[in-house]
Symmetry: C2
Subunit: 238 residues, 2 copies
């Protein structure tokens, strides 16, 4: 089995509750994607105002997490789900925690952009950050798509993107260190860029976790802390 439809229950109400949970995760994911896009636009256009919109929106992500989490607890208490239904609720609890942490990282990027605008930092410092940001954006989008379709095979491919993002992170970091060495007065400014790059790298990790949550949900296998190769073996057994 690679993708999974929501099971049908005798209680239509229960079906509705599970569908509702899934829809709310997608809404939360949509908000997080939107904020990430805005934070990268703000960086690209040195738009301090847009960056402030991003930092002042994180509370919405937090609120969604608390509400969906509460709803999951209600479903567990009232419906006492088993098997796939239980895994769905647990995967939702984990996924919203990852989305909330992605929101925190985006907030950090927003704050950094505000400071970069104040300091009028040269664009050369962060032009490669925007490229990396676009890759992270794509990975997050794909991870949410994997969640929406509950597609464990695609989950493996998306999780594999994380490795490239880690490599990009290391390359940019080396470049930023060179900038700092060439102009020690720039150290504080460049460090702000370093935090943003690190935040992007962390978002990649959380997108990876979302893929692992989907594999757990669909295959019933906990693939955290395993290699992409082992993950692939679980999802595509011979």
């Amino acid at each position: 089995m690679t993708t999974r439809s929501l099971p049908q229950h005798i209680s239509k109400q229960f079906d509705q509750e599970l569908e509702d949970l899934r829809a709310k995760v997608m809404t939360m994911g949509g908000l997080v994607e939107d904020l990430l896009g805005k934070s990268l636009d703000a960086l690209d256009r040195s738009d301090s105002e847009l960056a402030e919109t991003v930092t002042s929106s994180d509370y919405k992500v937090n609120l969604m997490e608390v509400n969906i989490d509460e709803e999951c607890t209600q479903v567990l208490a009232r419906r006492q789900p088993a098997a796939g239904d239980l895994r769905l609720v647990l995967a939702v609890i984990k996924t919203i925690s990852d989305l909330e942490r992605i929101g925190d990282e985006i907030e950090k990027i927003g704050k950094m952009v505000v400071r970069l605008c104040e300091q009028n930092s040269p664009k050369s410092y962060y032009v490669s950050v925007i490229a990396m940001g676009q890759h992270v954006q794509k990975m997050l989008h794909d991870a949410l798509d994997v969640f929406a379709r509950m597609d464990s095979q695609k989950a493996v491919d998306v999780a594999a993107q994380d490795h490239k993002i880690d490599e990009e992170y290391s390359a940019i970091l080396r470049q930023l260190i060179t900038y700092m060495m060439e102009d020690p007065r720039s150290i504080s400014n460049v460090l702000d860029v370093v935090w943003a790059v690190r935040a992007l790298e962390r978002i990649g990790d959380h997108a990876n976790n979302i893929c692992e949550n989907v594999i757990y949900l669909v295959e019933g296998k906990d693939v955290r802390h395993t290699s992409i190769e082992d993950m692939r073996k679980e999802v595509f057994p011979d």
Copy 2:
């Protein structure tokens, strides 16, 4: 209610399962505390071998998380707990996720110590890191104590320590930036120390989360994303 004993159930077996979950979290917490202590000792004594022991032990923390998580799923499926029992299981799931992430941060500190030893970095770079590390160590110990006693009042006090750790983090960071500006050739080495300080700050955040999990468990209130003052009002209503 400020502390909570495990409820008695008609099924002694169920009592045993909940007690077992709690004990396993404490064992996992003990391992994480031990590794944090070793990583700080390794830094203090420039002991590369000890630092390698730390980095090669993270898999044990990961394994414990996966096992306890699986046990929680089993309890949810078989026992269909409600109210306080359900909150206990959910708090365990969240707490082991925080402990696992603390393990990841400790691994980063271990790797940094290995590199610092190779480069023979001057001790002045990280003497304040050790002091900060001891405060983080205390906060983690207290957070685990709060979990063991399920003491929501103490949880608020321990969570309040996080603010001081954040201040310490900012002060050390400013100091490290000065070192980099004074000697640009040191930038790479000092950045390693920066990562370690940041890892310690993150451990403080996760210890804070553990306290929030205990408040949720004991009081049934989700206090994430609220201020210490609001947290206090939930736990000490007039």
